[in-house]
Amino acid sequence: MESQEADKNPVVQRLRAWDGQAVSEVIEFRGETTVVIPREHLQRAAGYLATEPFLYFSFLSDITTVDKFPLEPRFEVNYHLLSIARSDRLRLKVRLAGNDPVLPSVTSVWPTANWHERENYDLFGIRFEGHPDLKRILMPDDWEGHPLRKDYPVEGPR
């Protein structure tokens, strides 16, 4: 769904100019821009987006995962960024294979990511490498399974 509209977006243009490899796809839907980023570029791109004076996405609003089970790549992790200075929003998306749900932590860029990453670990089983204290946050520590995965029944485990 690469559209011309998305290419005119100055944020996307900047990102492409910075590193063409870091943007694998741009999705434009209902006025929201999503930039799909390969896993290995996530941490660098996060640092760039948060500090680059023209972009200044210094506020991480949310991190959330969508489980596409049984499709592959199974997981889509979405980072919702906000630039308070420019009143702009951007969604970063990273696609992960079901057998290897590992991501670099972005807590060094946005300290608020700490609890968001713990929540995604707890409910989806995404592991964040470099997280200072990756443990369950909403479910009990000895809980088995990750409740928001699509292969986890709504009624709970049997």
């Binding site: 839907f29 209902r30 949310d62 308070i84 969604r91 300290p111 608020t112 700490n114 609890w115 709504v154």
Partner: protein, 400 residues
């Protein structure tokens, strides 16, 4: 009046104390593991999840309309804000526009919700810090607004009054007059609270210079709402990303620069006054606007009762919508609104079926609570109570 507490040097003997989950000042079931050196907090770790009910998982098993009743229960002190956030997200997904009269009524009711939420906060926070009487006053005024909610929707708390595409019902006659009467009395009552607290020496002693967070830290920790504005960042979703015609209203974003508990108190009290201003404007706008309270979109929005009773198409649509639901196009949206606690986001992903594939709630108090250690470390245990209070958490929203 700022006092600094010096940590005694030398071999520190620390002890660990559990505050909560059953503790009146934790506003529900929050547990904070405190590491103490004498009475001074060395480390604080919030432990949450005691109220986790799996609302996001439940959403995936319901149709888009049925989810509205669950959103009431996320932040039970601001149910209408949650209704609004979710409805706007689904409306964005569908690409439908809501009639102006419904938009203004939504603004009116969400601002009343903000007032009730801030009143509960003020009353409970004052009780936490030992001022009992404020609670009785704020709940008296809150009750008047709850009566308005009951009058308009039939429910005091779990209103589910906003529906996808507009409102559930036509507001009953005399609704605006009732709101006007309550709004006329309220500014005087806010003066009463301020008389009791703003220049009260004990209040100042318990809140000034306590729980300071700088603007940079607040942004880095993802704080929003009065937490962020109390630290001097003039970010308000209603101004930055106007929704539901907020750009038609005149109001100011309230900020304070101190970043302490007192600053957050000042911001919230000022916001009550701003909300009264917005509600007054909304009364005028709702009175002038005419037109439907729901948008027309056959197959998505149920037809009016009359149409359902008199035309066969209306009956078919009604039946289909309530049995099968409707299917938005595949895609993902993230809609953010300014709830009383800050940036409330709804991420809704659709796979083209009649049930949402994924609903994620970006709960402002979940994120705000994360900064509690920043506020509390180096302070006394008694200050932890003030810090939890001005963070304004609702555990239903933190744990979802």
């Amino acid at each position: 009046m700022t006092t600094t507490i010096e940590t005694p040097t030398g071999a520190a003997q620390t002890m660990v104390l559990n505050m909560g989950p059953q503790h009146p000042s934790t506003h529900g079931v929050l547990r904070v593991i405190l590491e103490l050196n004498g009475e001074i907090v060395v480390k604080a770790e919030p432990v949450i999840g005691y109220l986790h009910t799996g609302i996001e998982k439940s959403c995936e098993a319901k149709t888009y309309s049925q989810v509205i009743t669950l959103t009431d229960r996320i932040d039970y002190l601001a149910p209408l804000s949650n209704n609004l956030g979710y409805c706007l997200a689904v409306e964005k997904l569908l690409g439908i526009e809501v009639p102006k009269r419904a938009q203004y009524t939504r603004v009116l009711l969400t601002e009343l919700t903000r007032i009730t939420s801030h009143l509960v906060w003020l009353g409970t926070h004052a009780i936490d810090l030992g001022a009992m009487s404020v609670f009785l006053y704020t709940f008296r005024e809150r009750e008047e607004i709850m009566k308005i909610f009951e009058y308009v929707s039939g429910q005091r708390m779990m209103t589910s009054y906003f529906r996808i595409g507009g409102l559930a019902l036509e507001p009953p006659p005399g609704f605006l007059d009732k709101v006007r009467r309550v709004m006329d009395a309220l500014p005087g009552h806010v003066d009463e609270y301020e008389d009791l607290l703003t220049n009260n020496r004990i209040w100042l002693g318990r809140t000034q210079g306590v729980g300071i967070i700088s603007a940079d830290d607040a942004i880095a920790m993802g704080c929003s709402g009065p937490m962020l504005r109390g630290s001097g960042v003039a970010y308000d979703v209603r101004k930055a990303f106007p929704y539901s015609s907020y750009d038609d209203f005149n109001f100011d974003v309230q900020t304070q620069t101190a970043g302490d508990c007192f600053a957050r108190y000042q911001v919230r009290v000022a916001e009550i006054r701003e909300s009264i201003k917005i509600v007054r404007q909304a009364i005028e706008r709702v009175a002038k606007a005419d037109g439907p309270i729901r948008t027309e979109a056959p197959g998505i929005i149920p037809p009016s009762r009359e149409e359902m009773k008199t035309s066969i198409e209306g009956l078919i649509y009604h039946f289909k919508i309530y049995t099968e639901g409707f299917a938005p196009p595949p895609g993902e949206v993230y809609q953010v609104i300014e709830s009383p606690r800050g940036e409330l986001g709804f991420f809704v992903a659709s796979d083209g079926s009649a049930k949402p594939y994924r609903v994620k709630v970006r709960a402002p108090s979940f994120v705000n609570l994360q900064s509690l250690p920043t506020l509390a470390v180096g302070r006394l245990i008694a200050d932890v109570v003030a810090c939890i209070g001005t963070t304004d958490i609702v555990l239903g929203e933190v744990d979802r």
